[in-house]
């Protein structure tokens, strides 16, 4: 059994929480005591049906205001797969949460209210999913029950969205007409929409092939921690020197010729160690410990790659940045801390090339700065070289976060473009 991580985007009005509640409920991931609590609260508020959104909106303020404030993670499993849902709020002021949820997602579900069709928010969510390179996108056209399960209405929305998606880089797009409230096409095929030939949403989630979405081509091993058992009672360990980390790309095997960056020195993989014994191969997302044949001075923040397939060694970066601070703004000369793979450095904003309107995709080149939830293209100068790939090629070696040194808050998320 493997794991599929998916993000859901949409507002409470689109029925997002109801959809999640439905998936959890129908897959029996909701327990009696949770359901009783929700039923009690629904009754207290005078809601006629059991408000499944109360299952996901866990904070007091969320319940009071009837909105989702923060990314909530939910879990359910079917015999085929374990699922991790990043439930992200749909309100404009919370774009940063959607970006956060999408950063690790294999798939995103964007909800559209069948009555309203493609609105500004749907376009924004779809754009953010593609910006974050979520490999699979599902447009769930919800509330089909309120448009008499109309095939024409569904086709209209599909055409309108397809036209918009042509402007984006959508790798895999699927449309599913549903009613989250009544369960149509959520877990099983709906009898109310015989004209729909596709699968139910859950069937789609269960059967989607995701293993090849990871980068298995470019070997990237950011060194996270050096393991040296100094006080070990076993004398054989005195000379042990292992480089621990999580594989970010490619497949590593013992005997492989590898290159260390920044030194450029070439050696071979002596062994791939784990607590459970040596491995014949390692690939993302495995956490392993490499031993190398030659003694090279290697520390945290360094990179192991292949001599003929290296990341870009760069101090000048081009990136799309989503700004997440409501205090500080990002503009030319802003100084920040950058964390990229296991390397942390300081970064200076050299230029803000444009601010992107996430609704129209219009580029405003006169924008002086980026504010909260704004996205733009920037040039950064970094105090030490980073080992980077285009975000489109590898999300782990192409993504970075920006930290405000004065507050220590995480204020930006960046995706590297034009690395090579």
């Amino acid at each position: 059994m493997d794991i599929l991580r998916f993000a859901t985007a949409g507002s409470v009005d689109d029925g997002k929480s109801t959809l999640i509640g439905r998936l959890l409920f129908d897959s029996k991931a909701i327990f009696e005591d949770q359901l009783e609590a929700v039923e009690r609260t629904s009754r207290d508020r005078g809601t006629e049906y059991t408000d499944l959104s109360l299952l996901t909106d866990g904070l007091r303020a969320e319940r009071e205001q009837g909105i989702t404030i923060d990314v909530a993670y939910r879990y359910f499993a079917t015999p085929k797969r374990k699922f991790i849902i990043a439930d992200t709020p749909g309100h404009i002021q919370y774009t940063r949460n959607m970006v956060t949820g999408a950063s690790t997602a294999d798939l995103a579900i964007v909800l559209i209210d069948a009555r309203k069709g493609v609105v500004e928010q749907s376009r924004r969510h779809a754009f953010l999913t593609t910006l974050l390179r979520v490999p699979h996108l599902v447009l769930a056209v919800n509330k089909m029950d309120l448009v008499d399960y109309s095939k024409e209405r569904f086709e209209e929305i599909r055409e309108e969205f397809t036209a918009f998606a042509a402007k984006l880089n959508v790798a895999d797009l699927t449309f599913i007409p549903i009613s989250a409230l009544h369960g149509d096409n959520v877990v099983s095929r709906s009898e109310n929409m015989p004209w729909y030939q596709g699968t139910s949403l859950l069937h789609h989630l269960e059967n989607l092939h995701i293993a090849s979405d990871r980068n298995l081509v470019d070997v990237r091993f950011p060194v996270q921690y050096v393991i040296r058992p100094q006080r070990a009672t076993d004398p054989a360990l005195h000379d042990y020197r292992g480089y621990a980390g999580q594989v970010a790309g490619g497949v590593l095997k013992p005997g492989d010729e590898v290159m260390h960056l920044p030194s450029g020195l070439v050696t071979r993989v002596a062994a791939i160690d784990t607590f459970d014994g040596p491995l014949e191969e390692a690939f993302a997302p495995m956490s392993v410990t490499l031993r190398l044949e030659d003694d090279i001075d290697i520390s945290r923040g360094d990179m192991i790659c292949r001599p003929n397939n290296r990341p870009q060694v760069a101090q000048d970066l081009q990136a799309m940045v989503c700004w997440m601070s409501d205090g500080l703004k990002l503009g030319p000369r802003t100084k920040l801390v950058i964390k990229h793979t296991t390397r942390t450095a300081r970064a200076l904003v050299r230029d803000l090339h444009y601010r992107l309107d996430v609704n129209t995709l219009h580029r405003d080149e006169s924008a002086p700065s980026l504010g909260l939830n704004e996205i733009g293209r920037v040039s950064l100068r970094v105090t030490q070289p980073l080992f980077v790939d285009d975000y489109a090629r590898n999300r782990l070696t192409g993504g970075f976060i920006l930290i405000d040194e004065s507050t220590n808050g995480t204020v930006g998320a960046g995706m590297i473009v034009d690395a090579r």
Binding site: A37, K82, P285, G399
Partner: protein, 304 residues
């Protein structure tokens, strides 16, 4: 463990993620510690720590906040495990906090030291200058925990501000704090109760005996079976009786309920959990029943 098409099983993905988080903490913080209660989640967390740094020893101490009302089987297990790993164990005692006048013991039949633990925990973090504290909490446990980060910032007062959390993207964690602040780290965030048990089975990990079915003298309160022990105030209208039970969670005796069960092996426990219709905290924790937002409120104060 691996399949030829490079898919990775859910337990391997979760383990790899947790190992990554642990190594990140060891690399970026000066004085981390791992909260070890002898409960199943912290036992799994300890195994992950063993794996993350092998063949080197675990590079941080363990800490237990001991209410003095814990199950003796669990305390014995805790001490033995720490000794086996040759790891330093810091025991922060709620009794000491009471004796020092830092907290006042609750009275009445529902008296519990559960909430007092927060003060003891925060005092210990300050005393030992811990800057990162590993906890075994999982997001599937409780709705406030579903909003929790892997690296969860705590201010000078140990408080959690759920509305102002640091965004977490990809596998990048922001470890920057000022002196006096700390980060609670939850490497098992994405695990479910069933994942924990599946992992215990796969790894053949030993757990305290009270997780398995055993005969115990209990009494019923609010639909929960509490142990009949000196530290639990049982009223006369709450008759004690012997029955076969096991514990789904392990905490303070005053607020941790047992469930009636014959499950005597890990396999039987897994079968039981797969079929159960009540969450582990709902079935067994009086502390979460206080109100709709009981956990959120305690977490804001600095609770685990």
């Amino acid at each position: 463990m691996l399949q030829s098409d490079y898919t990775t099983s859910q337990l391997d993905v979760l383990e790899a993620e947790a190992i990554h988080v642990m190594r990140e903490v060891a690399a970026e913080f000066e004085r981390p510690c791992l909260l070890f209660s002898g409960g199943k989640d912290s036992i799994v967390m300890l195994r992950i720590a063993e794996k993350a740094f092998w063949p080197a020893p675990i590079p941080f101490p363990l800490m237990h906040v001991d209410t003095g009302h814990n199950f003796s089987e669990v305390i014995e297990f805790r001490d033995r495990r720490a000794a086996e790993l040759n790891t330093r164990l810091v025991v922060a005692s709620v009794q000491d906090s009471i004796d020092a006048g830092r907290v006042v013991e609750e009275t009445g039949r529902r008296a519990s030291r559960n909430r007092l633990q927060t003060t003891t925990l925060l005092d210990a973090i300050e005393e030992h200058e811990f800057d990162a504290v590993f906890g075994g909490a999982r997001r599937d446990e409780e709705k406030a925990r579903a909003k929790e980060r892997m690296f969860s910032f705590r201010d000078d007062f140990g408080q959690w501000d759920p509305k102002n959390q640091r965004p977490e993207l990809w596998n990048l964690y922001n470890a920057r704090i000022r002196k006096g602040e700390h980060i609670r780290v939850f490497p098992l965030s994405n695990w479910t109760e069933l994942d924990i048990w599946d992992y215990i089975r796969r790894e053949g990990i030993e757990i305290p005996s009270i997780y398995y079915a055993h005969t115990r003298k209990v009494f019923e309160r609010d639909g929960m079976l509490l142990a009949d022990a000196d530290v639990v105030n049982r009223d006369e209208d709450e008759p004690a009786f012997e029955t076969v039970v096991r514990y789904r969670t392990v905490g303070d005796m005053t607020c941790t309920g047992a469930v009636q069960s014959d499950a005597a092996t890990v396999e039987e426990i897994i079968a039981e959990i797969a079929a159960t219709r009540i969450t582990e905290r709902g079935a067994t924790r009086a502390d979460d029943r206080a109100s709709e937002a009981a956990m959120e409120d305690r977490k804001k104060e600095g609770y685990f």
